[in-house]
């Protein structure tokens, strides 16, 4: 599986050479953190920044995954995939490399957001909490980037992918527990939020902030990620035959 790392390395090199994409990926979550985290008049908690930081971290991961889903499709459209498929490296490593790249890139972006949040006054310097947060974010990243890569492979053209992307991005975020706790939501929204996988990741991090290890939520995310990853392997095999 060394090849997975080589594919990931290629994407990291390409990404690091494009200055705009490195910065642009950070603008939206940073704006949320600063404008919403600091400015919103909230009554249910004294430190809204502490409350919203997990939401913004997961939002960053969400954005990274949505942005990354199209990468494999572009490799296909531009002819790279054909060359990779004619090589002896196991074909699935192409897919795994992509998912790993999207997830790790997301982790780098969340790190920057996390540093910003800490500078702004969020209480996040506990090493155990940090470690657990990264584990949750990693699993969530694998889950979501597998979904988006699969979607991109099945849609096969960039316009429909962009349309799909903008259709799900905001609803996923707003119907999650990112901005307010369940008891502050209208009942209908709370129901949706309980079903939204984005909430799972956010709730897991919030539980850890309070010193609880959310074993069931993490297990749920892990099972979800495994299932989606298997589906994307099947779709990838079908798309490359």
């Amino acid at each position: 599986m060394r090849e997975t790392l080589y594919y990931m390395e290629r994407d990291f090199r390409r990404w690091s050479r494009g200055r705009v994409n490195v910065i642009s990926a950070l603008i939206l979550p940073a704006a949320w953190l600063i404008f919403v985290g600091l400015a919103l008049p909230i009554r249910f908690t004294d430190n809204y920044l502490d409350f919203i930081t997990p939401g913004i971290l997961v939002l960053t991961m969400l954005g990274a995954s949505l942005q990354g889903g199209a990468l494999l499709m572009f490799d296909k459209i531009l002819g790279f995939l054909q060359k990779f498929l004619a090589m002896p490296a196991p074909r699935e490593t192409i897919l795994f490399g992509k998912i790993l790249f999207i997830t790790c890139r997301g982790l780098i972006q969340t790190t920057i957001i996390l540093i910003m949040a800490i500078i702004l006054g969020a209480h996040y310097l506990n090493p155990l909490l940090l470690l657990q947060t990264y584990i949750v974010l990693f699993i969530f990243g694998v889950l979501l980037s597998s979904v988006m890569t699969t979607v991109a492979l099945s849609l096969e053209d960039h316009d429909s992918y962009a349309a799909f992307n903008s259709m799900i991005a905001m609803p996923l975020f707003f119907t999650s527990s990112a901005l307010m706790p369940y008891d502050q939501m209208p009942a209908w929204l709370a129901t949706i939020a309980h079903l939204n996988p984005v909430s799972y990741a956010i709730d897991a991090i919030r539980a850890m902030q309070e010193g609880i290890f959310p074993a069931t939520t993490i297990l749920g995310l892990l099972i979800g990620a495994t299932c989606v990853l298997s589906v994307s392997v099947v779709v990838f095999r079908r798309a490359t035959l």
Binding site: Y6, R10, R14, A86
Partner: protein, 317 residues
């Protein structure tokens, strides 16, 4: 062992037969597959490179079946598709090292350097590929393809979109590879290039190989030299052996012969001996274009010509 052994290879897409029972045996040579658009060239290459599964039949690459043992096949081959897929944001060296690592070569850096030197890219190896010309990008793709020293190299339209100098350079490299013992399977639209570089040529039409031989043999087989003679008077004798009379246009007599130059001399001698006054002799060598047209014919475009669209296009100019 034969490098490429194709046995009844067939690919159907629904009702369309893209490749129809192809049989070929190719070894230690540059084999050119020529054919009009949509004749099944790329489909053939994709089956041989394990990117498409054949509907029927099989192909053995260095003894490994593309259907039974695709992974082994991939270890023996390199494939350079049409679309010039190199990473413009990486340097030439990074592009090649990436492939060397993927192929699992023990010393990726050194091997990549050797490939870059061989394709005359060493002095630009650390520049980003976006600064490379089309010809350089193509050579970079060859360098990538050669890092693992494949037995068989598949090239799909290797010179498409390149200028004259770039094309010649690519072919020089391909010929060099063949001399080192590599088998090269190439598809192209450029007849003159195929004529110059390929050891054997297969012409494919509607999924079937309609002719296969060396370029020279194809030219003699399919159309002979054309000899045109202008002469006054009347000929009463017998035409020299191996020359057949084709017809007369104006005062020009046309003949078909295996060797045009010899036939021209023999004919003008015979005419002069018969008391005729020979004014000019011209010989036209058939080109591979003639062979191609003779076998495949003028191609109808698959899509009907859209006159309305053509007019709109003209108006926009």
């Amino acid at each position: 062992m034969t490098a490429i052994e194709i046995i009844g290879l067939t690919k159907r897409f629904g009702g369309l037969v893209a490749v129809d029972g192809m049989n070929l045996s190719i070894d230690s040579e540059i084999f050119g597959l020529l054919g009009p658009n949509g004749s099944g060239k790329t489909t053939t290459v994709k089956m041989l490179t394990t990117l498409l599964t054949p509907t029927e039949g099989d192909a053995l690459i260095c003894g490994h079946s593309v259907t039974q043992d695709p992974r082994r096949v991939r270890e023996q081959i390199s494939y350079v598709p049409q679309d010039m897929a190199v990473d413009p944001k990486l340097t030439g060296r990074e592009n090649v090292i990436f492939y060397a690592k993927l192929y699992g070569i023990p010393r990726p850096r050194e091997t990549a350097d050797e490939a870059l030197v061989m394709l005359e890219l060493a002095d630009r190896a650390d520049d980003l590929v976006k600064t490379y010309s089309g010809g350089m990008r193509r050579r970079l793709e060859l360098a990538q393809a050669l890092v693992h020293d494949p037995e068989v190299l598949f090239l799909d339209e290797p010179t498409i979109g390149l200028d004259v100098g770039g094309r010649r350079r690519i072919w020089d490299h391909i010929i060099e590879l063949k001399k080192k013992g590599m088998t090269v399977f190439v598809t192209t639209h450029y007849m003159d290039e195929a004529d110059h570089a390929c050891d054997r040529i297969g012409i494919i039409d509607k999924g079937k190989v309609v002719a296969m031989n060396t370029p020279t043999a194809l030219k003699t087989e399919v159309c002979r030299d054309i000899v045109a003679i202008r002469a006054d008077g009347k000929f009463h004798g017998v035409f020299p052996e191996g020359i057949s009379y084709l017809g007369r246009t104006g005062d020009e007599l046309k003949f078909k012969a295996v060797n045009g130059e010899e036939a021209g001399v023999a004919l003008s001698r015979a005419f002069t001996n018969d008391g005729m006054n020979v004014r000019s002799v011209s010989i036209r060598q058939p080109t591979l274009d003639d062979v191609f047209l003779a076998l495949v014919g003028e191609q109808d475009e698959t899509m009907a010509f859209d006159f309305q669209r053509f007019r709109t296009m003209l108006r926009r100019r």
